[in-house]
Amino acid sequence: MTTPDTTPDVMAPAPRPPLLSRLGALGPLLGLLALMAVATALNPDFLTVSNLSNVLTRASFIGIIAVGATFVIVSGGIDLSVGSMAALMAGSMILIMNAAAPSLGITGSILLGMLSALLIGVGAGLLHGTAITRGRIEPFIVTLGTLGIFRSVLTYLSQGGSISLDNALSDRYSPVYYGKLLGIPIPILVFAAVALLGGLILNRTRYGRYVQAVGSNEQVARYAAVDVTRVKITTYVIQGLCVGIATLLYVPRLGSASPSTGLLWELEAIAAVIIGGTALKGGSGRIWGTVVGAVLLLSIENVLNLTSIISVYLNAAVQGVVIIIVAFLQRGRRT
């Protein structure tokens, strides 16, 4: 560099990040494409519109929850309770709908039920966020606790059995899952909307920037006048809302809730987030990665259903191996 004596040297125009790290960032996508290629080779039906639409529809539940989990994880937290929360929401929602139907009518009670699911989500999020920030308890512990609590309450409500939506309600409500708009199943549209909105919030709004800052270094964020407590609480509320939205789509599908509803969804959601390239320690993350992660997880399951090359006992092993391979493909990003 030939430097003029006085003025600071002119900045080079920001060049693009190195190719390798850009490729690494595409890791999960590459993983998904590779999986799709293998799947199609194993069973050409994989690539049919109806199958792909099935897979995406299913990925919507975990995917929507995982969008919320991305916020929580980027901010440096974790929420283990999402599966139980979904179960509790589904159960309460159905009970409320059934109870309200005689007085409010079908549509009215469905709307009331939907609203109540979202409210439970907001409430749970506030509870988590407050216990974690003001109560200064580790997120892992708080949400492990509520994992037990939510599921227990549902078990109590259902007296150990299952809670089913009345038929009339079920018929009116089921298009929310089974219906299509412009040929695309509604859950996929909702998933896309949630992901887009999530991406926009995380990457293009003040709040999203604060979430990243808090996850990167809470102390610095605090000194920079970021209201860390509010930012954190809000991530848990977003998580709760996302679980609520996923439950709104889940209930019309199966029309019931039981103590085993949503079991282990937390692991799947967190796995989707991390396969997507978000670091568990927080600070940075990307919604599109999470979306790819969720689709990838559900595709593995789908492929296993489509083929019978190996023993049924080994399904989970194949899933495990694929997850590790995909994570390996995108490891370039890590420091």
Binding site: M1, T3, D5, T6, P8, D9, M11, A12, A14, P15, P17, P18, L200, R204, T205, R206, R209, Y210, Q212, A213, S216, N217, Q219, V220, A221, R222, Y223, A224, A225, V226, D227, G283, S284
Partner: protein
């Protein structure tokens, strides 16, 4: 030269990605001398020293230590040859204790560690620096100057033949600095060679035998210290004549801007009251541990504190949190750049705009407007970086400081509290920061400066408050504002009998 050099660089180059930082530097360090290395922020001083210390490999060229070629793969290799580096950015594990950090990687004891011996030796090493500190304290709990002293003690406790100090005094006040210098001189007598980096040129003049000036990754001069005045050093560093460091200051108005009454921070400061006027630069002096940092952290709700009353332009305000303070127009620059100042993993742009995002939200953030702001700030504050899209951790220490300063000034605050504003900043840039402070004051804003450099406080401030053990012991202005008086108050040699109401 008869004896081989204690250390020698031969055409050493270093690049980070496409950006070349060192352009073939050659340097001879005579054994047993104190050799100062000075240069502007980002000139490449730390990079050179990291290479010598085994922390970074050179891209090209070669090194010699004691006349023998040196190819260090890591710092352990360098230490084996007696080369020890004190980092500019602290290199301490927050969760470990002081003693555990000092002995990390070379613990004492057999199968079981001898913690008692390590604690005793650590305490002794700290004592040599004049610091009485329980060696079992976790580093997380230390203040920045104390971390600095621990970092120094850690290096001193190793058998160094060549000791590299990268801005060891950036946050130390006169007394700690004096103790350190006494130690350095003793080490020199014992034949230890010292490579010393500092932006405090008076110190360099007082301490060094030889001064080497680095500019933009090239050695521009290497000469005996006695041949250079601090002023000449500064001119060599920046490559042009520097005018007076401190621009003349306009008198402040009489209108009070910020009035604080009865501020106490439990364990740190007791019943402090002061008034900052519009257009005033108010200094806070005191020794390390006097509680200046904590006082203002308390004021902004960053620590638990109690306060009688705070008035801004005569109106009572409540500053419960940094957010409330920022909304009221009061901002604070932390002395702890890495821990509280910058998001080191983030790029420069989000770092700069973190406190002013509302200006870029319409309502969706406009990264291009942010980028323009960054380009402006880079110009205004002279932030030197090869590229704009690097994480803040890739900036040199002084340039990180400028970025942190730029962030809080983006807020256009009324009251600006600066804790060590020129920590690690080169003379040229320092001058610009001083000018900036005067400009802000001239525009009617109020500036509070906490600094370990007495010169800076004396040259910059209208009035000076001295803190001792958490109490305001003196308010000095005019004639009374001189080095001797400040030191007397700060060390407790003089008691606040003559206190003037602030």
């Amino acid at each position: 030269m008869t004896a081989p050099s204690a250390a020698a660089f031969h055409g050493v180059t270093r690049s980070f990605g496409p950006v070349q930082v060192l352009h073939g530097v050659s340097l001879q360090v005579r054994p047993g001398e104190v050799h100062a290395l000075i240069g502007e922020n980002g000139a490449g001083k730390s990079t050179m020293m990291k290479i010598l210390g085994g922390y970074l490999p050179p891209s090209g060229g070669s090194l010699e230590v004691n006349g023998q070629p040196a190819h260090f793969r890591n710092s352990r290799d360098a230490e084996a040859r007696g080369v020890v580096l004190i980092h500019q950015e602290f290199n301490l594990a927050d969760d470990l204790s002081v003693a555990q950090n000092m002995f990390l990687g070379r613990e004492l004891g057999g199968a079981l560690l001898d913690d008692r011996a390590m604690n005793a030796q650590a305490a002794a090493a700290l004592q040599r620096l004049g610091l009485t500190l329980d060696p079992r304290t976790r580093v997380r709990e230390l203040s920045v100057p104390h971390k600095q002293l621990v970092e120094i003690a850690k290096a001193l406790s190793r058998e160094a033949r060549l000791l590299i100090m990268d801005e060891p005094t950036a946050t130390l006040t006169v007394r700690e600095t004096d103790t350190l210098f006494a130690l350095i001189r003793r080490l020199r007598e014992q034949g230890v060679t010292i490579l010393y980096i500092s932006h405090k040129l008076e110190e360099v003049k007082a301490l060094a035998d030889t001064v080497t000036v680095l500019r933009d990754g090239r050695v521009v001069s290497s000469a005996p210290a006695q041949d250079l005045t601090p002023h000449q050093m500064a001119s060599l560093m920046v490559g042009r004549e520097l005018e007076d460091m401190f621009p003349p200051h306009a008198p402040p108005s009489n209108a009070p801007l910020l009035e604080v009454e009865g501020l106490s921070v439990p364990g740190w400061a007791t019943d402090a009251s002061f008034t900052l006027h519009q257009g005033e630069v108010l200094g806070f002096a005191g020794l390390v541990g006097a509680g200046r940092t904590e006082l203002f952290e308390g004021l902004l709700g960053l620590r638990r504190s109690t306060v009688g009353q705070v008035r801004l332009k005569g109106r009572p305000v409540r500053l419960g949190s940094p957010g409330a303070a920022a909304r009221a127009g009061i901002v604070y620059l932390s002395e702890d750049r890495k821990g509280k100042g910058l998001l080191v993993d983030f790029q420069l742009r989000p770092n700069l705009t973190l406190m002013t995002l509302q200006h870029y939200a319409r309502p969706v953030l406009d990264p291009r407007a942010e980028q323009r702001a960054l380009e402006r700030a880079v110009q205004t504050y002279g932030i030197r970086t090869g590229r704009l899209d690097v994480p803040a951790s890739a900036l040199s220490g002084g340039n990180q400081q400028k970025l942190a300063l730029a962030r809080i000034l983006e807020v256009h605050p009324q009251v600006i509290i600066l804790d060590e504003p020129t920590r690690g900043v080169d003379v040229g840039a320092k001058r610009e920061i001083y000018a900036l402070i005067q400009q802000l004051a001239a525009a009617g804003q109020g500036v509070i400066v906490i600094s370990s450099e007495l010169n800076e406080l004396l040259g910059l401030c209208h009035r000076l408050l001295v803190l001792h053990s958490g109490r305001v012991v003196a308010t000095l202005e005019g004639e009374a504002m001189n080095e001797q008086t400040v030191i007397q108050y700060a060390t407790g040699l003089r008691t606040p009998a003559a206190q003037v109401p602030a």
